[in-house]
């Protein structure tokens, strides 16, 4: 029986207490039930929540996992990240496409299946991967793709595609995923054994100011990549006036090639939630929100359960960890948008809007979620916080380098024999990391994902830390058979798709760079094109509104720095003052074809 649109919307709005800032949850719920958020549903949401139709439509059109047009019963999203492409994405996508008889982006005539491509889903260590609804399917091959379709046709239950459960909590009854952790090197800090409840209790024995001091003494800096000192961030939020404050945990791990937060959320969720609780205690917040990317929806029930247990164990809720302090956490689901990893876009999303980043100032610490002082911390940063409280600032900061205390989790994938998560002290040389993961033939490395930089062998002696090669944790390794320009091109396609489009330099610049690279790759580039790339990059860096546009040119700019000779073999001056970008045969090909066709007809 088809559920009535009105009933579905009513129920969804009721479940969030008719709070208009919870529009994301409402839209997600409607999408889940109706396969889309059609105009009738938008009208109903408008009536129920008193938000404008424009806001609903704007939100629905923004997120990749939401759609106005009702879609198919099974949505298969094949991950087309660079790593998946190295691992056979093309064959897998073609197999899905052939088996279903639809192209990418298509829906079968009976409305049972739709096939889409999607950006990195955080499974680069077990690529090629895909999502079937919320179910993650890893290590795909063309044959496996055909089986997936056959099985879904036979039983219609995506969960039954999971044959062998992954290790650790991936096998937990509330997870039941085939995902493997691939923890290759656990270190003494983040991926160490946890003593549940200890950090929160220790924090509660200190004053909030002392907690902040401990974090500052440990010299903890944000692990998302930018490296802002966590203690200072907290101090600002603590000092900001406001009775209501928030701690947001950024679990929107979307940087292509990153998956370490997936592992932390699977195996160390208590450490993450403890970190949020401690942050709340330190800044004077009673509420926390974990923003979980839609691709990790398979972890949601499990994480809710962990939260429930923390409540029943007195680690969340009233008077925890001591009288007068209360703290609770809710999970906010994302809906497929890389830019929501940007903290102000994440806040917008939490408030029920499209993920357009905000103008700054005001900064979140002054005016963030719901207009209140807010800290947004990375999953790994919060784990570090917990660990600092568990075993002290000194134990934390004795590892790593002067400016970069502690350890860093690296998500390593690509052309390596041992892809997975590695915890290494800051200051570790890149070449040591390569030796660890078996990247013997490494020729190019994407450090920090596409928004980071592409480096070549000349940089392998450099070290992973904030003052040398900074990274949010992604390390994608490419061997000598790969073409850095093609990698850069794939990453530019990603940024073009994921830019929110708000500001000119990012909205247009990514497209221009992607097209420019295509021209160079086709052997139609001139030296002046490379100068233009640099000029566009410089403008994007300085004038874009948020971190996305301020870094998204990096695939081009850094590959140009590290592999300039590869560009230079492709670009030339054309003779006779001609532009190499124009090719007469290409430009007349269509007319030639039409004339030939016309000739046949007559």
């Amino acid at each position: 029986m088809t559920p009535s649109v009105d009933g579905v919307v009513r129920e969804a709005c009721h479940s969030v207490g008719h709070d208009p800032t919870r529009l994301m949850d409402v839209a997600r719920a409607v999408q889940a039930r109706l396969g889309g958020v059609p105009a009738t549903a938008i009208d109903a949401i408008h009536d129920q929540l008193h938000v404008s139709r424009g806001q609903v439509r704007s939100l629905v059109s923004f997120y990749a996992f939401l759609d106005e047009q009702p879609g198919a019963r099974h949505v298969i999203r094949v991950c087309d990240d660079v790593v998946d492409r190295l691992a056979g994405y093309d064959r897998v996508a073609r197999a899905f496409s052939d088996e279903l008889g639809i192209p990418l982006g298509g829906t079968t005539a009976d409305g049972t299946f739709s096939l889409q491509r999607t950006a990195c889903i955080g499974m680069s260590d077990q690529a090629p991967a895909a999502l079937v609804g919320d179910v993650v399917v890893t290590d795909l091959s063309a044959e496996r793709a055909r089986q997936v379709v056959a099985e879904l046709r036979a039983h219609g239950d995506p969960q039954r595609l999971v044959k062998r459960l992954g290790d650790g909590n991936n096998a937990h009854p509330l997870v039941r995923a085939m995902v493997r952790n691939n923890i290759r090197q656990a270190g003494p800090i983040v991926m160490s054994e946890q003593k549940r409840g200890e950090a929160v209790r220790k924090a509660a024995a200190l004053s909030p100011v002392e907690v902040i001091r401990a974090v500052k003494t440990a010299r903890l800096r944000g692990r998302g990549g930018a490296g802002f000192p966590t203690g200072i961030k907290w101090e600002m939020a603590r000092a900001a006036p406001g009775a209501r404050k928030f701690v947001l945990c950024n679990a929107d791990e979307g940087e292509p090639g990153t998956f370490k937060d997936r592992v932390l959320l699977t195996e160390w969720p208590d450490r993450v939630f403890a970190g949020m609780t401690i942050a709340g205690y330190a800044i004077g917040a009673r509420e926390g929100v974990l923003y979980l990317r839609a691709e990790y929806a398979y972890l949601r029930a499990f994480l809710e359960d962990v939260l429930a247990r923390r409540r029943s164990d007195g680690l969340l809720g009233r008077d925890v960890p001591r009288r007068g302090f209360e703290f609770d956490i809710r999970i906010q689901m994302g809906a497929g948008a890389y830019v929501c990893g940007e903290e102000s876009a994440l806040i917008e999303s939490c408030e029920g809007r499209r993920g357009d980043p905000r103008n700054r100032p005001p900064f979140p610490a002054q005016r963030g979620y719901l207009g209140c002082p807010t800290v947004v911390n990375n999953v790994e940063t919060l784990c570090c916080v917990t660990r600092i409280l568990e075993s002290g600032s000194a134990a934390f900061s004795e590892l790593g380098s002067r400016q970069s205390a502690g350890t860093k989790l690296l998500s390593i994938s690509g052309d390596v024999s041992r892809p997975g998560v590695y915890e290494v002290p800051f200051g570790t040389p890149i070449q040591d990391v390569l030796a660890l993961c078996g990247g013997r033939d490494a020729t190019a490395l994407q450090v920090g994902g596409p928004s980071g930089r592409m480096v070549g062998p000349a940089d392998f002696e450099r070290t992973i830390c904030y003052d040398d090669v900074a990274t949010g944790g992604a390390l994608v390794v490419f061997d000598s058979s790969r073409n850095p320009l093609q990698i850069a091109h794939a990453y530019m396609e990603f940024f073009e798709d994921e830019s929110c489009g708000y500001c000119t330099p990012c909205r247009v610049g990514n497209v221009l760079l992607r097209r420019g690279l295509e021209k160079v790759l086709a052997g139609r580039g001139e030296p002046a094109d490379l100068e233009q790339f640099e000029q566009i990059a410089k403008t994007m860096k300085a004038s874009s509104r948020c971190g996305l546009g301020q870094t998204s040119f990096n695939p081009v700019l850094t590959s140009l720095q590290s592999f300039r000779y590869q560009y230079e073999t492709l670009v030339k001056e054309a003779p006779g003052g001609r532009r190499r970008g124009f090719d007469l045969d290409d430009a007349t090909a269509e007319a030639t074809r039409l004339r030939a066709a016309e000739g046949v007809r007559s």
Binding site: G576, G577, R579, E590
Partner: protein, 181 residues
Amino acid sequence: MSKPRVATTSLCGCFGCHMSLLDIDERILQLAEIVEFDKSPINDHKDFTQRCTVGLIEGGCANAENVHVLRRFREMCDVLVSVGDCATTGGIPALRNLVPLEECLQEAYLKGPSVHNPSARIPDDPEIPLLLDKVYPAHEVVKIDYHLPGCPPSADTLWEALNALLSGKPLALPYALLKYD
């Protein structure tokens, strides 16, 4: 000392820019004194007689012939100037860039409401230059040294620009002479 030579052409344009050049009125006598016109519709010379100092390009490139002429101009002229919006942006002919080429031809020769075409064929004589996939501004086909936008650029704009170029001065148009319409 021989006079500097000027060549002009209209590619995919409407000759409006050439008309604007004629619009310099009596100054055309002055112009005739200081320059010699080589290949140009003004004197109807069909091809270059020798290398030229300045080439003025009206119109963008819509077909293969436009491309050949433009390339020839680039080879034969020291300084090449895009004159008018069609040369600098593709202009009005580039409106067809928003429609697939096949649809354009069908509309023009087969399906358009005012079409009378008993042959029911799209003209395909080999003598007719092949259309390009889209209309290109001149600088996307060859290197262009200066751009004079306008539809057309005013006579004063053209006069100012020619004077500057022929006297070797930098070309900087005053505000009132830089217009896109």
